[in-house]
């Protein structure tokens, strides 16, 4: 494995170079991460829990600064959307108010907010629940609202932190398909954190496999199956081969712990 899988990639939208994060407690969360994200990528970060993949995502979002290393965008920082594992909606506000949040905080006018919120809710198939309150919705619907909230602010890059992990298998698969459709339609770039091998293979064009703590990228796997993908891909031989390959990469012991 080359240590700089993509860090020096020139055409990249986002370059992560030698990024390390050490928490105040002394825990080394991620260690010398190199990663390049290109425009229109759907990249999954896969790894065991506690491998620092969420921390990496938060550093990309600019919510947490890296201890060392550089995170650079080509050109101006694009508009970002963030989706958490929990829907993280404001329980006191209607669905519509929740979806308008990003626009509201950025000072958009009321009419524009309403219009974009309607569009975003329609995109996730929830055209008619704007007046409802979050607690009146099912878990899957809440997650859709959460995605609509991210989309309403018209992000170029969508960062997703295990967004479907808390959902049942059936809902998760349906939302996977919806997300792929949105990714294509809205011309998004998506960085997707998950611990599900199957999900990552189904969704991504590229997978970065991370090792357990301290998190390092141990493998990068290109998923060359064509888009659009649908349920038939899940039963294809190539799909299973990729899943097997990612699983193997996950099982491989961390290359480095002592090697420094």
């Amino acid at each position: 494995m080359s240590a700089s899988v993509g860090g020096s990639d020139r055409g990249a939208l986002l370059s992560i170079a030698e990024v390390t994060k050490e928490f105040a407690t002394g825990t080394l969360a991620v260690d010398r991460i190199d990663l390049a994200i290109h425009e229109r990528d759907f990249v999954s970060l896969v790894g065991p829990s506690g491998c620092g993949k969420s921390t990496l995502l938060r550093m990309i979002a600019g919510l947490v600064p890296p201890t060392t290393g550089r995170i650079t965008w080509s050109g101006a920082k694009p508009r970002l959307g963030f989706v958490f594992q929990d829907a993280t909606l404001m329980p006191w506000a209607s669905v519509r108010k929740n979806v308008e949040l990003g626009l509201e905080l950025q000072g958009a006018e009321r009419s524009l907010r309403a219009e974009r919120a309607d569009v975003a809710l329609a995109l996730v198939g929830l055209g008619d629940v704007g007046k409802a309150f979050p607690r009146e919705l099912s878990g899957g619907m809440r997650m859709r609202v959460s995605i609509a909230r991210a989309l309403a602010a018209e992000p170029a890059v969508l960062l997703m932190d295990e967004p479907f992990a808390a959902l049942d298998e059936f809902t998760r698969e349906r939302l996977n398909d919806e997300l792929l459709a949105l990714w294509a339609e809205q011309r998004l770039t998506i960085v997707f954190v998950t611990h599900s091998v199957y999900e990552s293979v189904y969704l991504s064009n590229r997978i970065s496999v991370m090792s357990g703590r301290p998190g390092r990228i141990t493998d990068e796997i290109q998923i060359d199956a064509p888009f659009p993908r649908d349920a038939s891909f899940r039963s294809a031989a190539t799909y299973h081969a990729y899943c097997e390959r990612v699983s193997r990469a996950l099982r491989r012991p961390s290359p480095s712990s002592g090697g420094r």
């Binding site: 979002a61 919510l63 963030f82 506000a93 905080l105």
Partner: protein, 264 residues
């Protein structure tokens, strides 16, 4: 109202009726003198006979309590917001809020009366009732402001929210259920504070229910004392009911506490 609801209301009322009848019967049977324990019938008579003056006093007490309660909410929420903006401010000031809370009000009352209450006992009552009522709002609101969802905080940062936006759109709504819980406690405490302060500060110039009780006590008009006490309870119940109603109204659409209980 459903069957269970009316049952819940009827049961304590029935108990009150039985209790009052037993009281009346015992006082008569044992010939207890009226200045020790008057029978309910003479309390009712006193309540009716002195209704005008008692009602006026009740209004005075209610007004004072409301004023002190409002001040307590303003100061409590105000300081909680300040504490939330600056940790060193919180560290510096919070202990004093605690000192104010744990020092018995009866012990501070004479001082406050000397400082402001000689000519204006109502000012002393207002200040003392505010001091008693202020802490639950403060401590609950501080807790509420701090318990806003971490991820929502992150989202607000991501969208470049200002401090003001974060406070108004995230922290205050998050704090609302706890704030209202604190306010309900404060409402009761404001009444207690107003009564205690009036006992200490009272002179002929004061006119609240506490003074009516003290006055009647001095004249051994025990039935009137009970009548004033009943008025005081009514004021307290009124305050509590009002605040409970407000809480329901503000939370019913979204907060777990306002949901109907699960069928079991």
């Amino acid at each position: 109202m459903n069957r269970r609801g009316s049952f819940e209301l009827a049961l304590p009322l029935l108990l009150a009726l039985v209790g009052l009848l037993a009281w009346e019967g015992l006082v008569r049977a044992l010939a207890i003198p009226s200045f020790v324990l008057p029978p309910p019938s003479s309390i009712v008579a006193a309540l009716v006979g002195d209704f005008a003056s008692l009602a006026r006093s009740a209004l005075v007490t209610l007004a004072m309590t409301t004023l002190a309660f409002a001040a307590a909410v303003v100061f409590g929420v105000g300081f909680a917001v300040l504490f939330c903006q600056s940790e060193w401010l919180e560290r510096a000031l919070y202990p004093y809020a605690v000192v104010l809370q744990v020092t018995p009000i009866v012990a501070i009352a004479p001082l406050v009366v000397i400082w402001v209450g000689i000519d204006h006992p109502d000012r002393a009552v207002f200040i003392l009732a505010t001091i008693v009522a202020f802490f639950p709002v403060l401590s609950n609101t501080v807790l509420g402001l701090k318990s806003a969802d971490r991820n929502l905080h992150a989202l607000f940062r991501l969208y470049g929210a200002s401090r003001w936006q974060t406070l108004v759109k995230l922290q205050l709504p998050s704090a609302l259920p706890l704030l209202l819980g604190g306010a309900k406690i404060s409402g009761g405490l404001a009444l207690i504070g107003a009564v205690v302060a009036e006992f200490v500060a009272a002179s002929g110039a004061s006119s609240g229910l506490a003074w009516r009780i003290a006055e009647a006590g001095n004249r051994l008009q025990v039935a009137k004392m009970f009548a004033a006490l009943a008025m005081l309870s009514a004021v307290g119940i009124g305050i509590h009911t009002g605040l409970a109603w407000l809480e329901r109204r503000l939370l019913h659409r979204w907060h777990e506490s306002a949901l109907p209980r699960a069928e079991e």
